[in-house]
Amino acid sequence: MAAATEGARLSIRGAGKRYGDLQAIADVSLDVGHNTIVSIVGPSGCGKTTLLWSMSGLHGLSEGQVQLDGQTITGPHPDIGLVFQEANLLPWRNLMQNILFPWEVKRQKPDMAWINHLLDRVGLKGFETRMPRELSGGMQQRASIVRALSLRPSVLLMDEPFGALDAFTREEMNRLVEEIWLETKTTIVFITHSIEEAIFLSDRVLVLSKRPGRVIADYPVPFVRPRSLKTMASREVFDLTNRIKADIYGQTTLRAAAE
């Protein structure tokens, strides 16, 4: 599935963020097209989370701006959903109460039909009254995805959502995100440490440099969805993986090997 670009959905212009003396990101500009999945990869501490939180309006930028459909984001936006590192469920609420949390905050009547559909979709039907500590890591993260999707955001920002999961659960979760995307076509910005995950999910992979983070590479990922194991084992994926690795490590030897 190629990027269906008819103007950008989310666009970042000259974004910079300082925390005191620390320049977390510098001059980041990027566009996220309609109904696409864009992954951002980069070394630890390169400002990926800072960038994502800026996109969500959770904190402001020191320089530059973030626009959603041409409008500058100044605070949390109802069209933008956020999935956090680890599941970030509230441990004193059961699964259903956690999913209803955003509705409670917004004082809206929850769309139960949609929520139940989502729960069914991610395989959490029947676990509504379980407390978070009774659920596995994968189940917790699925619940947090349902929580974010329940409000039907048109943009979903995911901050290393599966970083704490084991490899098998992670692949399962990647398939789930793909399925959800095929159903809802939500625009997704996905932050990850895993190049494999980025390639599997995305229409585009952006590489961020070491701190201060800036975009140093932008690769289209043209493979047909749903992406099979065979696609993921192909020569093209292997080469792309190595190019991204070379960008991250800055090792020309790897690049040479890939070419």
């Binding site: 939180w53 969500s56 959770l58 605070g75 949390p76 109802p78 933008i80 956020l82 956090f84 590192q85 680890e86 970030n88 509230l90 441990p91 004193w92 949390f101 955003p102 409670e104 905050v105 917004k106 407390m131 978070p132 500590r133 409000l151």
Partner: protein
């Protein structure tokens, strides 16, 4: 000393919270008939054994009366003790209510601004570590022998305890959960009630429990120091008359009050803080 500070934790069976340091096995509930039988058997052996030993060695009543004499005194004196019990309970609950409310509000407000907290904490620590009992004669001088000096002393003993524990609870709120609420546009007040308060709840309950028990100690102590009423006053009266069975009957009422306070907060903790692993 740190061991003595109770702390909520999940019990082994995962059924609820128990208190570390204060090992009240009955708190988690006996499950089988056999367990109940053993608990009763141990109680009979301890109390019966005490009775037999005290009589066997002919320990004088003014040193330690046998359990049967204490029970008899409790039954006989209870109607006379009832107004005193009521008096003590009024002081305890009024003082604890005032102290705990002020402590909770202060903790919630102060933890919002780390600098304010730094400025205030030393004074709270002084209040926590000073035995409020020492102030009772002074309070009586100023407020007379009525309820007020005792209520003030209880409030001063319980309030800082509640505050210091609640403040610990409010401080540990994690930023990801606040970010979660903010990402849905939650107001400061919503963040407080839906994130900070539930997050702090286990520590708040620990504070309330310690505060209540400190309040009880201070209340009885204040009654012993001054005032013509209350269970503490009965203690001094009975001991001065060497009415030891009656004296120990009052002690028994006080221990039962303490245990009931503990159980009350234990049950509240089970309901509101059992999520904490």
């Amino acid at each position: 000393m740190t061991d003595a500070i109770p702390e909520f934790r999940k019990s082994q069976s995962g059924a609820g919270v128990g208190l570390a340091g204060v090992s009240l096995a009955a708190g988690t509930g006996a499950r089988t008939r056999k367990e109940i039988a053993i608990i009763i058997l141990v109680a009979v052996i301890v109390i019966g054994g005490l009775e037999v030993l005290l009589r066997w060695f002919e320990v004088p009543h003014y040193i330690l009366p046998p359990p049967s004499a204490i029970m008899a005194a409790l039954v006989k004196e209870f109607p006379l003790l009832l107004p005193h019990l009521r008096d003590t309970l009024i002081c305890l609950f009024a003082g604890f209510g005032i102290g705990a409310s002020i402590g909770l509000v202060l903790a919630a407000v102060v933890t919002q601004k780390p600098f304010v907290e730094k400025v205030i904490t030393p004074y709270i620590l002084i209040l926590v570590t000073t035995p409020m009992l020492a102030l009772v004669p002074l309070l009586i001088l100023r407020f007379g022998f009525g309820y007020s000096p005792r209520i003030i002393a209880v409030a001063l003993a319980a309030g800082p305890m509640v505050m210091i524990n609640a403040a610990t609870g409010f401080r540990r709120t994690d930023s990801a959960k606040i970010a979660l609420a903010r990402s849905y546009g939650a107001s400061v007040l919503q963040i407080f009630w839906k994130i900070r308060a539930p997050m702090a709840m286990p520590m708040i309950l620990v504070g309330l429990m310690i505060g209540a028990i400190f309040g009880l100690l201070t209340c009885v102590g204040a009654e012993m120091v001054g005032g013509g009423f209350g269970l503490g006053n009965r203690l001094t009266t009975y001991s001065s008359m060497i009415n030891m069975p009656e004296f120990f009957a009052v002690i028994m009422i006080l221990s039962i009050m303490g245990i009931l306070l503990y159980v009350l907060f234990f049950l509240i903790g089970k309901k509101w803080a059992s999520w904490e692993a």
